[in-house]
Symmetry: C2
Subunit: 430 residues, 2 copies
């Protein structure tokens, strides 16, 4: 397959390798994408996918954590990983000449990382520190809480990082079994972008995976899922002695495979809270000075999604800010957007897309994610053409249907009881 | 002048334009660098440089804030600014074809931004929100507090953002006078990098500045300064009901123009806390799981600087963590670093430098900063060669002299009195 510069080879065992040559760069990025995330965990092992991602860096049969760190530091590369609700990605960004090292290191960590009990107990402390850090970052914390408010005890609603309780209880054998059962080549995509050449990259990956490619499996189908809501969106209040109150509210939105709805939603998101000229930014910050940070965003999962607004403000302004933001959403739900807004938002998405794809890291992300989530690729020009087709009307219809859905709300700040919250916040939820 | 691809033209009025063509990109970044920052403020108007940076975006004679935002959003570009202790930069990142718009917009904001009283009162609220946000971010807050602990009431020790008191008292006429007196073309550098051409860029800048270039001045000399310490480094404790305690400690270090000391210092910083294989990361996180985030960093000003270590940990581990970190610094001060560490750190700096200069934004930053701070340019290969020359011995000598200096300390967390802090923290200061 070869779409818009993306080349794809399926290795034995169902391992997919996708590459893209990025002209003009001297670097290479490799990511091993595993189609496993926090939504695949049972509630008692919440945080396992993320814990495992930490643990695999601690040792492989041939390398200690220090060996791994030294090998990457010696070439000035970056080696890291992240865990999300539906996937986990281990990646490195290096000079092109160091690609063989990067492929070998990342593959070794992902496939051969040990789950030793002594490492689990040290790394448990690190993950608990990470939870504390998230709790000290009100914007992060309220973001996690919002998805819980919106999805309740559905696995999508659980924080990726797990909870203090589940992390404290996590056992080496549980992580080992999660690793063995879930990290199979047919569920993985190796994405490589930069100053690289496809056949050579495939050869490097083939050698690094070695006998792990002997299963004779085909690539696993993409994640589809069928979202079954559990209960209605709620309001979650978290008490913090913070200077600002942090508010997130929004609705359930579209899944990745729900037709073409994501394009008008992207435009809508841009018009509402995507930039300096967006309605929320203008109304709340520019005209009234009620916030420093105010924006909207979209999360997309296989079978559901979320549209949300974030605002940080003084506790005494919370009611006013919530009314203003809700008013912006209601106006657009009732009257739609203007042609000028639609044109500007499309220009913004077009420019942002092209500007955001100049480095090998973002290219690697794009093709890895696309292969794992969709099983296919769209060239940048196809995407640009698709954005161009969005009409004002489509966006207005999307607004009318989406923004009529019930809101979930999360708020973190000094309010000690839910009834102390201003009515404008309490009444966001039905 | 033409060094390593950097081209430089001095326009009438002393305005410098430096450009660099970046092969393979379709974007352009423009930054207008003004050699003015928070250290140029009197104590009663602390935060004026940063407040002004906000205010100039609110209106120019020909554009409202909304016009400015819409013009940039329509092409999907990024428009922003930052204020530091010694400079202020207004920048945009756009597709190459939009460079004329970007030059015009950024110049209009910087040179013609109005300081209207009604905008001051709205933007005052936004800046106060930004202060609250900083206060809710313990890592940010403790970083600001550390420079105060290290430099006392010297202007370098004051937070760039000012204080609630000074921001509340700030008047339009003070900001207007700061603007008129300080924002002169001879103290400015326009830096442009990307898919651009030097002569064309100079022409765009010349047109955008128009009659502001009639002063007949030469470029102002680079900032030299002569640091006169006021008092000794101290310990600052800030009470926060946070989950983690956040500790920063370190010493005064070298000014930008103190010979070639910054190269061994970079290597030393990398060995101590610059990456996953660094001594601090290994000792505190990897071996003992006592922190998630632990690193060292270097700040450089014209005539002084700072070397510091940051660690976030559980409050009950603070004493142990402080002892471990201090131990790492003392070992290196006493015994120096190894040849293997020196080689690895140099590799790390080399790789990081090349990987960090692939996009037009980072190139623009590099040449703008270099022109303003040094008045000259070093090609990437010259810099790589200079890194290569650093010897183990130089680094060990730097460690011995630098780490013997008295420590300043800032700590934010649930400790309510300084005497509640563990002795290992209290005894960091002499």
């Amino acid at each position: 397959m070869d779409v818009g510069g993306v080349r794809r080879t399926v290795l034995p065992g169902g391992l997919r390798v996708v590459t893209e040559h990025v002209p003009g760069v001297r670097s290479a990025s490799i990511g091993v994408w595993v189609g496993v995330g926090s939504r695949d965990e049972g509630p008692t092992v919440a945080g396992a996918a993320h814990f495992l991602e930490h643990l695999l860096f601690k040792a492989t049969p041939s390398r200690s954590a220090l060996d791994i760190a030294q090998a990457m530091d010696a070439v000035g590369g970056e080696l890291n990983a992240f865990t999300a609700k539906e996937q986990t990605c281990y990646y490195a960004h290096v000079l092109d000449e160091d690609l063989p090292l990067a492929v070998d290191l990342v593959t070794d960590v992902v496939m051969n990382g040990l789950c030793r009990a002594e490492d689990v107990s040290v790394e448990r402390q690190v993950v608990l520190e990470e939870i504390s850090m998230r709790d000290d970052d009100p914007e992060d914390m309220v973001g996690d809480a919002f998805l819980t408010a919106l999805f309740g005890d559905h696995p999508i609603g659980r924080p990726v990082i797990g909870s203090v309780e589940t992390v404290e209880a996590m056992q080496a054998h549980q992580l080992r079994s999660f690793h063995v059962r879930r990290y199979r080549p047919d569920r993985m995509v190796v994405a490589v972008a930069g100053n690289i050449e496809h056949e050579h990259t495939v050869e490097l990956v083939y050698r690094a995976f070695g006998d792990r490619l002997e299963s004779g499996l085909e690539p696993a189908p993409r994640r589809e899922g069928k979202f079954r809501p559990r209960g209605n969106p709620e309001l979650l209040r978290i008490h913090r002695d913070s200077e600002q109150t942090h508010l997130v509210f929004g609705t359930r939105a579209f899944g990745r495979h729900e037709g073409e709805k994501r394009w008008p939603l992207s435009v809508l998101n841009t018009v509402l809270g995507g930039g300096l000229s967006s309605r929320l930014f203008q109304r709340i910050r520019e005209e009234r000075g009620l916030a420093y940070s105010v924006y909207s965003s979209v999360d997309t999962f296989a079978d559901t999604g979320a549209f949300s607004v974030y605002i940080g403000c003084q506790p005494e302004n919370l009611g006013r800010v919530a009314s203003l933001a809700r008013g912006v959403l209601e106006e657009v739900a009732a009257n739609g957007i203007t042609d000028a807004e639609c044109a500007r938002a499309k220009g913004s998405l077009r420019g942002g897309l092209v500007l955001g794809l100049e480095d090998s890291g973002s290219r690697m992300n794009r093709i890895g994610r696309s292969e794992l989530s969709y099983g296919n690729h769209r060239s940048v020009s196809e995407t640009l053409a698709r954005i161009d087709e969005v009409t004002t009307d489509e966006v207005s219809r999307t607004a009318a249907s989406l923004l009529a859905r019930p809101f979930g709300v999360a708020v973190a700040g000094p309010h000690r009881r839910t009834r102390d919250l201003p009515a404008a916040v309490r009444h966001l939820v039905p």
